[in-house]
């Protein structure tokens, strides 16, 4: 509950600050935060605002909205990010991040949440 509240608050203030190009127009950060936990992102990533997310397998996702590249290869654009979340191995065959079968709408919510992290 508290997490969602926090996430919502973050989303609220982030709305105006996110650069135009990074907005996921139909993504809801609050829903995204829930999906992040459902799909088990916390097992590998440390994600601010998600309490259980203290993983050390993948890179930490703090200030994600400010990062320039995804996995060091792709510009951090909404399209790339959504594609990455949906099927990372398709973009980088050597990545340890599995294809978790996340449908596009849910990936958008997740991306929306990640873009609230500044």
């Amino acid at each position: 509950m508290a997490v969602l509240f926090l996430a919502a608050a973050l989303a609220g203030c982030a709305e105006s600050e996110i650069p135009q190009g990074m907005r996921i127009l139909d993504g809801d950060p609050e829903t995204g935060a829930r999906h992040i936990r459902e799909y088990g992102c916390p097992a590998c990533h440390t994600i601010p605002g998600i309490r259980s997310a203290k993983g050390i397998v993948g890179p930490p996702l703090n200030k994600f909205a400010l990062r320039a590249y995804i996995t060091g290869q792709y510009p951090n654009t909404p399209d790339n990010l959504v594609r990455w979340i949906m099927d990372a191995p398709a973009m980088a065959p050597q990545t340890p991040m599995p294809d978790m079968g996340i449908p596009e709408d849910e990936a958008r919510h997740i991306a929306a949440y990640l873009y609230t992290l500044r």
């Binding site: 050597q94 990545t95 340890p96 978790m100």
Partner: protein, 325 residues
């Protein structure tokens, strides 16, 4: 109830409230215990209020003695009243004890659960008396008595599913039994209730209560050996499992060499709701994370972090395990 979901999806985080609560009884026995508890909670609260009211009255009152003579007041309030109330309670509680401990009978589902630091080994008795092995998850049919015998391989654990029954301790050298009859379908959570060392906090499991046909089908699937992988990725995963020596701790029925008894049986790990004994949801992402950093997620558990695998191998291994439904 929000958490009454089909057995194939994971329990959703936003609907987990109550899946491990005494207040959400889902069996005849848990119902009976809650009813008794409610009675004593109500009576206890009433007595508490009355005694405090007496105390307040005694403080306020200007009269220099209780409503009765001192000794009579003490004799009635402190002796006679509790003696009578408690004797009623004694009979009541013995009757409930009898009710909840009666044997499960002939047609009971028989399950044997062994506690390990910090996971649960589960053996079902198949229709022909054969042992069907799984771990960290129970499936139960509705409206059929269940008899669970428990013991431990190492230290003392305690088996507890609040929605279904009270606890029973798992003690090395002892085999204890608990019986109950689930009455409603749904996903519930159980947890170790006896302090068992470092990761006592992360020793939980899920229980899926489902209609009889679904249960039978599930049990039949569990009895099967693991499926052979078809796509290349899964084949690579299986190969990684063999190469990394996972089979010396874990059993995968049907895979030669994978007969380890130290960790959970993984023959159908992909069908389970959780990994890491009720701590992470069962998903390919969590499997990968668990394999790579189990010592970070559950420090001190018996499985080393396999952080030496390359990315592709890790993905393949996780995908293969996830495919073991």
């Amino acid at each position: 109830m929000g958490w009454q979901i089909t057995s194939q999806s994971n329990p959703r985080y936003d609907s987990m409230q109550g899946i491990q609560s005494v207040f959400e009884p889902r069996s005849i026995q848990a119902d009976a215990i809650l009813a008794l508890s409610n009675w004593v909670f109500a009576a206890g609260s009433l007595i508490f209020v009355l005694v405090m009211a007496l105390l307040a009255w005694a403080i306020i009152s200007r009269r220099r003695h209780p409503p009765l003579r001192n000794t009579v007041f003490i004799a009635i309030g402190g002796f006679a009243f509790p003696a009578v109330t408690l004797s009623i309670l004694m009979v009541f509680t013995v009757l409930v004890s009898l009710h909840i401990t009666s044997p499960a009978g002939e047609n009971a589902v028989r399950i044997h659960v062994t506690g390990h630091m910090w996971w649960w080994e589960v053996q079902y008795e198949g229709p022909d008396g054969e042992r069907i092995e799984t771990a960290n998850e129970l499936h139960l049919p509705i409206d059929r008595p269940v008899s669970i015998t428990v013991t431990s391989e190492d230290v003392i654990h305690s088996f507890w599913i609040p929605s279904l029954a009270g606890k029973v301790d798992m003690i090395p050298g002892h085999v204890n039994e608990i019986t109950f009859t689930p009455t409603e379908a749904g996903v519930m959570r159980g947890q170790c209730a006896e302090y068992c060392g470092l990761q006592h906090a992360k020793m939980a499991f899920y229980v899926v209560v489902e209609p009889a046909e679904q249960f039978d089908q599930w049990l039949e699937e569990q009895a099967q050996p693991a499926v052979e992988p078809v796509p290349d990725l899964l084949k690579a995963g299986q190969q990684a499992f063999v190469d990394q020596g996972c089979g010396s701790c874990h059993a995968v029925r049907g895979l030669p060499g994978a007969v380890g008894q130290i960790g959970p049986d993984l023959t159908h790990v992909g069908s389970r709701l959780s990994i890491g004994a009720g701590w992470l949801d069962g998903s390919v992402g969590n499997l990968a994370g668990w394999i790579a950093s189990s010592q970070h997620i559950k420090p001190g558990n018996r499985m080393p972090s396999f952080d030496r695998l390359d990315g592709k191998t890790l993905r393949a291994l996780a995908a293969w395990l996830e495919s073991l439904e």
